[in-house]
Symmetry: C2
Subunit: 369 residues, 2 copies
Amino acid sequence: MEYHDQLGLSRQAFDELSEHLQVDSYEGREYRHLPGYRKSVEKGTVLVCGTVVRGFPKVPRCLVLDEGIPQHFDAAVAVEEKLNGYNVRVAKIDGEVLGFTRSGIVCPFTTHKVRSMLPVESFFEAHPEIMLCGEMIGPENPYTPADCYTVDSIAFRAFDIRKQASGKPFGVETRREICTEWEIPQTKLFGIYEPPEAVESTPEIIRELDAGRREGIVMQTVDGGQQLKYTTSAANQGDLAFAFEFPFDYGRDFSFRRLIREGFQSVEFDESEARQRERAHGLGESLLLPMTDSIERIQDGERIGQQHTVRAEPRVVDRLLEHFREQGLTIDIEGDRRVDGERVLTFTKQIQRTNDKVQTYLDGTIVRE
Amino acid sequence: MEYHDQLGLSRQAFDELSEHLQVDSYEGREYRHLPGYRKSVEKGTVLVCGTVVRGFPKVPRCLVLDEGIPQHFDAAVAVEEKLNGYNVRVAKIDGEVLGFTRSGIVCPFTTHKVRSMLPVESFFEAHPEIMLCGEMIGPENPYTPADCYTVDSIAFRAFDIRKQASGKPFGVETRREICTEWEIPQTKLFGIYEPPEAVESTPEIIRELDAGRREGIVMQTVDGGQQLKYTTSAANQGDLAFAFEFPFDYGRDFSFRRLIREGFQSVEFDESEARQRERAHGLGESLLLPMTDSIERIQDGERIGQQHTVRAEPRVVDRLLEHFREQGLTIDIEGDRRVDGERVLTFTKQIQRTNDKVQTYLDGTIVRE
């Protein structure tokens, strides 16, 4: 079956899409992936060895649970935790299990981790032609580290099982049963609710997650066909703090959207004036303090960047560094030690614009706006 | 002298510029003005009755006084207060004194006010072919009201005198003497300093202005040839509060720039952790509280807009309302009374996007970002 058939596209539509595909390779195996959003096919879709690995669909969001849930769902919804890590799809391609990041790149580190942490051989033998979708979470993480989970280094949590080529999801209950059967750790299920119950239950779930500095929820029909997400204030403010640590490297739309979410949540949660001020203060701190910290560090002659720590067999860490170099990233090694035969590497991904712009303004450069 | 000669442009450059000019009229007199920024000529430049009224130049800004002042100036600088109102140029055209807003529109209200508040006849007789530039400030103001000045209704403060056609400024001292002579109220002069003294003195001036919730300073060489501005935290946060009252009507760049200014100021002023948190809290409040207030009002069925009050002879207020309608603005009258023969009108300028977008999200509409 040709790619365009697997993707459900006409030959012409596929040819148009092809112009946007990026060619990459992993261990000598060439593949093409779609790094950005297009109308016809999900971002992150991969074409490799004659097969398609569909991109994970973008989950839409509501700003108000009360109206958003009944607007979006007219049958029972499963409410599961949305985790703050990086999205990975695990699939078996031509006899080899690979881990794909959101944008469709085969990550050697992720590939190694999923192979060693999950029962991939027996799982894919029983379920060929599917992809296991989940979040890689924890503090030792080369993309999106987070400290809010009881994870020492890095862990996988399944949140979807889909047909590899079509992206069609398994139902929530089937997926959870399969994961239980194979002892694949999965994201928490809070419950399955009729829409009015979901409206009633979700604010309390969000408050609890917020108290634990966790990210939010994904709601979906039990067949997995329709999804909707909603995030905590901790996630919104955490993202803002991250963006304002590197203010000139992050889109203004990125920050604006998160500010807006805070406004709608504050109104929907019917906050007292005191609680609202508390939220405002948290918001202000998440914007100002990371920014002043970065400005001060640059003023002191430091070059700032995104720091990460990873822990794995030495050859896997080597391969990750090589992979980053192939991606065009510049990496500075901050710490490098061995623990129980594993290499624990702390490194910084260099960023450019914030360092340059802040330095320019500190030097007295004039702003013509 | 033809327009292109007065503007110092080739005929071809003038023809190119002409495509961007907007035609308008005032009391039957047609004029053209440049509503946006172009490379060749200042925004707000007006062509009327064969003469040019130059746009007021955009004043560049520094984010750090310490380095910005010596970078920008190598001779004495006059430090004057930057006022928070609306920029107006007063010029006598073909025997008639007119008030132009920043974008080059003849405003009937402003024209009336400057004619009645300032000794325009004798002034322009003594100084033909110049324009008097200043800020209209105070709470009863159809564009940018502010409560921080000891002004009951509206007042004019001169901050520049320039050649009408070339825009060439008078020196600061000459300008201040002329204003004193004609009893034209003018913006406060803090002093004339050598650059190192200015670096030392301006932070304290900014702190004082900030305590009074005032806007900032304009620094310039004594010949008026080079200008530089710097604003208080009160101004930055006030602008953010204004923008987040109408979050979907204001540019994201507008807000981002003001957040960045807060970061640099906090670092330059070497704030204690407590003071920095205080600034962060003010920042958060200026973003969140106006936004939640607007969301709540829209939720309650209100349509929000920008409220203004003006006070003038009834025919002048009528003319202002007509002017707004000609500009395509929709005005709702909120209050209308007579006081001592004057009409005191409170009105709201309707805004569209924030009302529509907020209502959409309150209705549960999904966000696909």
